[in-house]
Subunit: 197 residues, 2 copies
């Protein structure tokens, strides 16, 4: 049995006081990310805003990339919860389309998370890569659920195409090559064309 002896402490092994401190650190990261692009956000500023020592931060997160990866996952999981609370259409294609629309809307409302997504996705830090894996599983799981009415291969193809187009669309928005309004139209068209009977 593998016993984890290196790396940051995992949330499931934290006391409630440690979890509270970790939450404060992530909240501070979210605040700073609203004001500056991820490559300019500094861990020492996050520590200061959270009222936590730099040493404590590295107890919870192995690196800046890991911290920002956890901030991205926390944001996406929060979105997932609020999305589940609002009812979705019964028709499977309309349901999938609406899920995608809500996702794009979330990035449109808070475009700093589009920049954060690209930052974390481009990181080679092993813990950031692990965060991307959890994010993919989270988003991919929601997509696969909504597409389960299709045959398995088509569902997988649609999921990949939409996933690629999503990543590309976020890249183009962040770098000023396109707009979120355009991305919303383009993703709606993707759903319509990919899911027609």
């Amino acid at each position: 049995m593998a016993v984890e002896t290196v790396g940051p402490r995992r949330p499931e092994h934290m006391t409630s006081r440690q979890l509270d401190r970790r939450r404060r650190v992530l909240a501070a990261a979210h605040e700073l990310l609203a004001a500056a692009p991820p490559h300019e956000v500094q861990v020492k500023d996050i520590a200061e805003r959270a009222g936590v020592s730099l040493a404590a931060i590295y107890h919870y997160f192995s690196s800046k990339d890991h911290l920002l990866g956890e901030a991205l996952v926390a944001w996406a999981e929060g979105l997932g919860e609020s999305t589940r609370r609002r009812s979705l259409p019964k028709d499977p294609a309309a349901r999938f389309t609406e899920l995608i629309r809500r996702g794009v809307r979330a990035y449109r409302r808070e475009p700093q998370y589009a920049a954060l997504f690209l930052f974390v996705a481009a990181s080679r830090d092993p813990h950031a890569i692990e965060c991307m894996g959890r994010l993919s599983a989270h988003v991919g799981g929601a997509m696969a659920d909504a597409l389960s009415y299709l045959d398995a291969q088509t569902a997988l193809d649609v999921q990949r195409i939409v996933g690629n187009a999503w990543t590309g669309g976020l890249f183009e928005c962040v770098h000023g090559l396109s707009s979120f309004a355009e991305l919303e139209r383009s993703m709606a068209a993707a759903c319509r064309l990919l899911l027609r009977a």
Copy 2:
């Protein structure tokens, strides 16, 4: 009438000797890009390899980003020419699918151009942005031609979705989140699903 008084000399205003020097600079850039990622390639190394002074380089290109943007456009235009020489299927959907497949293959064969694409696309340098505009017009024009059998709105939608998925796919390949083999499968599936009658 606007007279261009600032910025690098444009190829259409160059003597044949200047054009030859410009070609040598771009050839040197291509060689260095095969060996190192774009952010590590330095203009002084390109100058040295091309046997051209640094001052001369800045006569032709306003910045490193501009130089690399021109290298990207030159590569893509070269591909376009070699693609046009090889015959394409007559069936319009098969024709578009084959064009996309050749494009992905080109990046797969020389993945340094995927990294270069992302580098230039992310640049805020005005001349690099202008290069991206020319690249988009070049690729978009080829796609629009192949899709002209569809109604205008569907053709535009397909072009945008495929463009977004392409950008996202290159991003994922460059950052090790996916493979070119996977991108080839995914783009083939995109063409199949988007273009079914």
